[in-house]
Symmetry: none
DNA sequence: AATGAATGAGCTTTCATTCAT
DNA sequence: TATGAATGAAAGCTCATTCAT
């Protein structure tokens, strides 16, 4: 029941933050929509910011678990990267609200100093950079500043998500998100051909 | 003197917003740092948001002027795009605070509905998309969803800027930003080769 | 077991109130330190104030029992008063936390209306006044406003306790408290010599 | 006008704190009774506690100024002390609410650490102790632990004020306060006769 | 045009108390 | 009897905005 309630608050907060933005969302509103009292929120979260932190934390852990499951995977780097992007875009397809928040509130000043947010923002590109490193070593791609290219890829992913989110036509939006992994991997791997 | 004061407030606000984020910046603070009284701010701006709007407006106009100056330029698309990215990265090198705000406050809910912010956020990628369109027509690159690719490029630019900003070594940071226009154009044009 | 638990809560509350002050002590904290749940507190006490009331009640009863034991004691008033002050100072030496609370929370608005607190705050001086009355009748001291003098003596006791508590050197502190009963009685009886 | 408003808030707060106690007084209530808005309070005071601090500060400064004016006064110590007590009791006669607060909120945990409160609670007795020291040197009183006696006198003063404040009959109350200085000085000086 | 004291709606947060288990 | 999650009234405080000077 406990974990349930925290989860219930998290999910409601995602909806509310996505609709209004963190700073225009009130704890009263979250409580009301979650069907609990304000006090209950504070039984599970230190303060309002902690809710946002938790949302990020959950998402980060999903990505990390995925990376962990890739350990020892012998398929070509291109394949692994495609898989990761598929997972990422699929997560956003499943919960567009989370995507909205991840993009919108990422630059939230207090968040930027939090360990797991730093890990998310730096950690994910670092893992991508490590994959690119392997691809360079395997001569699948030409030598390059892998950290910079990884950052570019990470940014490109964000840009495509943003572009997709702007579409009011849901079918169109989903189409972009669904095709994105292959297109981006193709674009980057062809762009990096030796 | 008038225009001067509005400019003075805009510049101070850039500094304050960049340091703290829009929502954690107070009008009192801006007034104090600008050496004017709060009341004066309201003689030049409808409200606090209007200051942010104005900051975006000024930046947007700079980009638009650059695009206007490109009108009729007959050089290859690749050349034009490189020039634009050079200008953009140079602007960020010159005023990192503005870059910070453009990235951070872009997703500000009330801003997203404002015409010239929409123009900035959509307009810049749209211009890039238009250039890509021309390149496709000229068979310099393969057919693609130009809007999505433009968004990816725009995002990649942002990602590289962010990566550069993380470096504590200034020389290294500047080196990345200086090389970035060519590298990104090369990456994308090779990636889009027919 | 019952009486035990109530006692356990009372003792913990004394520690907590003394350390933080009544208003900055939470029921959660008391429960935690007492090793019971908040709910349990409310099985023994009507509300938070009732805990404070009970603390006062227990202390008052101790004083009253002492007075009762003095009934019929034929020794000179000066002797009786000295004994009472000895008992009082000893009680504070034994439980400085209780002394702290008795002094600090005495002026608590809701407490001031409670019968047994009124009895404590007025009752102790009244008993002193009664003893002084007897001394006046016996011509051991000159006629005076006994209520006012009793209040002065009661206040003086408090002042000396406070002064003693300020000393960081424990030996010094204890020395003051040990000598205090005689010194105060001497001071006041000499001051009231006929 | 500025100083006026701070003064206006201070005076209202004295009335409100005296009637209800600090912890049961709300900033809204003070604002309402002072005829200003809550925001205005916070233009003059850091927070609610700062109002209480200021009340203490003003009273302490009055006492200190009085002591300063005594510098170089050649009259006998007994006379000086009587004068000081007269001033003190007169101040309480003039503003019984202040007296109430001085006694009730003195033990307020956050106040106890403030420099000027420490100065008040320790400083006033120290000045008294210094006067007693002079009286001992001049053989007007017998040798004694002047610090302890000063604490006792300070406490006795408080006790008498408290006793007076308990009287519902104002005439009676004022009578006690008016007679107190002479009575206490007589009591103590006779009690300390060599 | 410039000022800055005054405003008060509105927010986050706390915590004594309850009650279903 | 004991529990402790849930409650929600109530409080302190902030800060964008106004307007008399």
């Amino acid at each position: 029941m406990q974990a349930n309630k925290k989860e219930q608050i998290r999910e409601t907060a995602i909806r509310v933050f996505a609709a209004r933005g963190f700073h225009y969302s009130t704890t009263d509103r979250i409580a009301e929509e979650a069907g609990v009292s304000v006090g209950t929120i504070y039984n599970y979260f230190r303060n309002k910011e902690a809710i946002l932190e938790y949302i990020f934390q959950v998402e980060l852990e999903k990505r990390q678990q995925f990376f962990a499951s890739l350990e020892g995977d012998q398929r070509p780097v291109r394949q692994l990267l495609t898989d990761f992007l598929r997972m990422h875009f699929q997560a956003i397809l499943d919960h567009p609200d989370v995507g909205q928040i991840l993009i919108r509130e990422r630059h939230f000043p207090q968040l930027e100093t939090l360990d797991f947010v730093v890990q998310f923002i730096q950690g994910v590109p670092q893992t991508i950079a490590a994959l690119l490193e392997k691809a360079v070593a395997g001569k699948q791609i030409r030598p390059c500043q892998t950290a910079v290219v990884a950052a570019a890829l990470f940014g490109a992913v964000e840009g495509v998500v943003r572009e997709a989110m702007l579409r009011s036509d849901h079918a169109e939006r989903d189409a972009i998100l669904r095709r994105a992994p292959e297109e981006l991997v193709t674009l980057f791997f062809q762009g990096l051909e030796p």
